[in-house]
Amino acid sequence: MVPGKNGKKILTKLTHGFTASIFDGCECRSDYEDSHGVGIRIEDLNKSFDENHVLKDINLDIEPGETFSIIGPSGTGKSVLLKHIVKLEKPDSGHIFIDGNDIYATSREQAQRDYRYSMVFQSSALFNSLTVGENVGLWLREKRVCTEGRIRRIIRDKLRLVGLEGKEELMTSELSGGMKKRVAIARSLAMNPDLILYDEPTAELDPVTSDELARVIMNLKEKVNLTTIIVSHDLNFALYLSDRVAMLNEGRIVEIGTPEEIKASQNPAIRKFIYTTTKGIKGEA
């Protein structure tokens, strides 16, 4: 038996936890469509895990709308720094300001926050029990941002943006590594973020898939106005995508500059990093 219009409505509400019931007439919450890149300032940030001093006096300024990469060898604290920006870690000392607001300030000051952030994790961190479409629409449904019909359209649009149109019904276990990353990006984009962070986006990806991913991120940069922070040890990827790059070595920022400046830098840590990632074929001049 095919359910009628009312039957379908009830079915949708049962499936998605009454998300759709609070919107009468309007399709989306008024602030959903607004997206603006945010400025970030990090001041004297320090973090230790037991005896291991991971981040040492980090100072950074990231402009609104900028694509900023943090590069460096594995284990130098790049991901830890990223986790501080999205408040998954608390600093031992120092401050992080987003649009001028200290993100670790008291809750009353924090209430002034008017930006959205999302993060693409190294492992993609997709929810295995949900389909691709449910992963992408999770935030929209949980926050009751839109009507169910509008949510479905947003899911379709965001998947199209990352080249996965029509894959809504697949389970995440059916996806390749590159596809998982792209679904994770679509999930992040579904909330129309003002700030998006990528943690090692090319980790475990082959060079061709990495290149595809770079194109997806470039494409987003042109279409969406947001601030992007990329943490990567993939030098070429970072140089190709970024407006500016910072090199993190042994917990300290050793250099900040445009991709050209980083490439031309004489800083020994950067020279070593560039050499080891571009040394070419053994025996070749």
């Binding site: 936890g17 986790k83 999302s118 935030w139």
Partner: protein, 255 residues
């Protein structure tokens, strides 16, 4: 040595405090239950329907063994008519809630710890946080609510099966030879609503313990696949112990 003992005591105190804090937060999010109905129903189905076959089978044999052991002894003194009351009371007050809860703890508590633990290890919980979705509201609340309803329902079902198993043995076994109607009359006379309420109260508390322990251990998981395995075992062991401890105190309180 004293330092080690002290550290263990402090660790246990900290875990208790954290578990209570998790319980308070989970209960606070009960208000969000209406919009999490699909997740709650999914968990209830998994706990109730998924555990029903094994709980039925276990209850059937427990009821049968109880009738066999007790009935044979009672027959020596010619008082086997009271077998219905003994099996009924035992199943309703003690065996039904405890045995069923132990089965749920083994089957569902471990699965909860493994699922939440895997989400913790593979950064899915961090992803929830960055999506501004509270993991306690999203993961622990539906599980706790589902356990609070599904475990008592399962206990009722298992108890009925256990009593039926006892009746079958009492009637069929020539050494006992108590017909169904005598078994039933004796049982009804011994059981009142208070006894049934006590059994259901126990089942509700045990259900809460299973969900809380599963989620707490899951949230505290670290260390990859090995950590997930350890969490699964830990959840079952802790839930078993807490069920036995709670059982004693509840029985003592409700005497």
């Amino acid at each position: 040595m004293f330092e080690r003992i002290g550290r263990k005591i402090l660790g246990a105190a900290q875990a208790t405090g954290e578990m209570v804090a998790l319980l308070v937060e989970t209960v606070y999010y009960f208000k969000a239950a209406p919009r999490n109905l699909p997740a709650i129903f999914r968990q209830m189905y998994e706990i109730g329907v998924g555990t029903m076959p094994i709980a039925s089978l276990a209850a059937l044999f427990v009821g049968m063994v109880l009738a066999l052991q007790t009935g044979a002894e009672l027959a020596l003194y010619g008082t086997q008519e009271v077998i219905g009351a003994i099996v009924g009371l035992s199943m309703v007050k003690e065996l039904g809630p405890v045995m069923t809860s132990l089965l749920v703890a083994g089957r569902i508590g471990s699965a909860m710890a493994a699922e939440v633990g895997a989400m913790e290890v593979y950064e899915e919980i961090d992803a929830l946080k960055t999506l501004e979705i509270n993991p306690v509201r999203y993961l622990a609340m539906p599980r706790l609510l589902a356990c609070l309803f599904a475990v008592p329902a399962l206990v009722v079902f298992a108890t009925v099966i256990g009593i039926a198993g006892g009746a079958l043995v009492s009637d069929v076994n020539p050494a006992i030879n108590v017909p169904y109607n005598v078994y039933y009359d004796n049982m009804i006379r011994a059981l009142d609503y208070k006894e049934i309420f006590k059994g259901l109260l126990k089942a509700t508390v045990f259900g809460g313990i299973i969900a809380q322990v599963g989620c707490y251990v899951g949230f505290k998981t670290s260390g990859g696949a090995r950590g997930i395995g350890q969490s699964t075992t830990r959840a079952v062991v802790i839930a078993f112990l807490l069920i036995f401890i709670a059982d004693y105190f509840l029985t003592r309180l409700m005497l």
